[in-house]
């Protein structure tokens, strides 16, 4: 079974981003970049499938700048077999990414596509669902458990509002990872060295025949309205008095 994992290079989750002075976008100069945490969980899930003997090849894909090679090398060090990078320096929207991935799915014919449920920069939560629409594959989004049942089906437990839902998807299918699907491992030094020799092919959206012209224009970015800090109360009596008589909420 072949697994295709799509990953995204994003600002590291520890970085607190701020708008640029001219408010046209966030300031990403000299900030640390990493694999999107949800994508890392998707890579880990693929590696576990391979370790269990359920998958025999893991192809990791990214669409983005040349530097996304770093994140692809990380995924290779975690256990992916080969990498594909679709290089562009332009702004990418989920639909454009999904269209590039659709072409790669047609070429690679994976049995399973794993991705993160959303990236922590744009917070769109769209690409997996869009790829599912374009390929016609079923989708198991926000997955907290994935089980391949052997009859060419995947059982996916999804985190939904109010609880959990389980779906049986016919393969090929798209599964997007939620936080609790697994805990990703760290790449070992020998594996990082080995990853440098694994194949990494590059192409461009033009090579794939995909137009990535944006449909949505970013007009400005700003910090959210700040909440003014309130007061500290001395004791429970004062708190209850304030809630009853000042805020009038109880």
């Amino acid at each position: 079974m072949k697994v295709l994992v799509a990953i995204k290079r994003v600002v590291d989750y520890n970085v607190k981003v701020r708008p640029r002075a001219d408010a046209t976008d966030v300031d990403l100069n000299n900030v640390k970049m990493s694999i999107n945490p949800f994508c890392e969980i998707a890579v880990e899930e693929a590696v576990r499938l391979k370790e269990q003997g359920l998958a025999n090849e893991i192809v990791v894909v990214s669409i983005g700048p040349q530097q996304a090679q770093e994140q692809l090398r990380t995924a290779l060090a975690l256990g992916a077999d080969r990498a594909l990078l679709v290089v562009t320096e332009d702004v990418l929207e989920p639909l454009a990414i999904a269209k590039c991935l659709k072409v790669l799915c047609d070429r690679e014919q994976p049995d399973l596509v794993l991705m993160g449920k959303q990236s922590i920069d744009g917070d769109n939560n769209q690409t997996g669902q869009m790829l599912a629409a374009l390929t016609g594959y079923p989708q198991g989004t926000f997955a907290s458990k994935l089980e391949l049942t052997g009859d060419n089906k995947a059982m996916v437990t999804r985190e939904i509002d109010g609880g959990l839902q389980t779906l049986a998807l016919n393969l090929p299918a798209i599964v997007t990872a939620d936080l609790r699907l697994n805990e990703p491992r760290y790449a070992s030094l020998p594996n990082i060295m080995k990853a440098k020799k694994k194949p990494l092919d590059t192409s461009t959206p033009d090579d794939l025949g995909v137009s990535i012209t944006p449909r949505v224009k970013l007009l400005k970015v700003e910090l959210p309205a700040q909440r003014a800090a309130g007061i500290k109360v001395a004791d429970v009596e004062e708190l209850m008095d304030k809630l009853k008589n000042e805020a009038k909420v109880i």
């Binding site: 607190k16 639909l95 939560n125 079923p138 985190e159 509002d161 944006p214 970013l218 309130g230 805020a247």
Partner: protein
């Protein structure tokens, strides 16, 4: 302009988030049509027909839509969307699962989680875990949007008289089957629509700590929430998580008990009207957003508050 809203419901009851999406549609302006797709869900369509400002309710009542699987719902919505300028749904797990699939079928770039309508093509939305608010303008013919419920008031539920129209179109993909679901059963109000929320964090120490908090929750008639730290520690189930990756809440009163106030958590609750923070660490960041802060041992303070109610 004409706006199609995808109603969220469990075939019996309408989810309140639909009413927030209706308000967002009213802010955009235009004729509003609501689609109720499900199985034996005519009652939901009846309720929606009484919401003022709705022109028409479309009812697609068929077993294939009973679990709102995106595989069946997306082609239905894409088919109905023709001629509409906007398609909206709540930014719930159901809406987030469905709407990008609809958008891709229509070849439109969806906009997720809008928190403000600036004009019919321009919207605000949180990015970077709510650390930054982006203003974005769509050039697409159909704007496919999910709506952050806490950012819009709920529309009124009485006074309207919309017509109900049956939709007979059936889309049944056989590549996805519903197996089952486990929904938390609770007498308490639903977390995202409760008037009061009491949330506990790592400071609760254990599941037993949360059991103590439950007494306060029930006395207040509140919903119970938790920080990601408390969920990850296994004190409470996932569906109680408040934060950027969990539920977004904005109740009249929010108690943050033993919660330090990580940015992830704040992103999920900082629009609450009144915030009370109870923490033993006076430097905890939660106090920077709290209207009323109380420093001390929560295991003494919580029973004391409960005793005063």
């Amino acid at each position: 302009m004409s706006i199609l809203i995808i109603a969220e419901h469990d075939n019996c009851d309408l989810r309140p988030s639909t009413l927030n999406s209706i308000s967002a549609a009213q802010a955009i302006g235009g004729d509003i049509v609501v689609l109720v797709a499900g199985s034996d869900c005519a009652g939901v369509a009846d309720k929606l027909s009484k919401v003022p400002g709705i022109k028409k309710v479309l009812l697609a009542d068929n077993p294939v839509y009973s679990h709102h699987l995106a595989e069946n719902m997306a082609p239905l919505v894409a088919e109905i969307a023709e001629g509409f300028s906007h398609v909206l749904a709540p930014a719930s797990t159901t809406g987030k699962n469905l709407m990008p699939r609809v958008a891709a079928l229509l070849d439109m770039q969806a906009i997720s989680d809008i928190s403000e309508v600036i004009s019919p093509d321009t919207f605000k939305r949180p990015v970077y875990a709510g650390n930054v608010i982006a203003t974005v303008q769509s050039s697409d013919e159909v704007k496919v949007l999910t709506v952050r419920s806490t950012a819009f008031e709920a529309a009124a539920t009485e006074g309207g008289n919309a017509t109900i129209e049956q939709i007979s179109s059936v889309h049944n993909q056989d590549n996805c089957t519903f197996v089952g679901q486990e929904l938390a059963v609770s007498e308490r109000p639903e977390l995202t629509s409760a008037r009061i929320v009491v949330a506990g964090g790592r400071g609760m120490g254990s599941s037993e700590g949360f059991a103590m908090l439950e007494k306060l929750v029930d006395k207040l008639g509140a919903a119970m929430g938790a920080s990601r730290a408390a969920v990850d520690a296994g004190f409470v189930p996932n569906d109680m998580q408040v934060g950027q990756t969990g539920k977004i809440v904005a109740p009249d009163l929010y108690f943050a008990v033993g919660i330090s106030g990580a940015i992830q958590h704040l992103a999920g609750m900082k629009d609450s009207k009144v915030i009370v923070a109870i923490n033993k660490d006076p430097e905890a960041p939660i106090f920077q957003v709290a209207d009323y802060g109380l420093v001390g041992d929560l295991f003494e303070l919580i029973p004391a508050i409960e005793a005063q109610l």
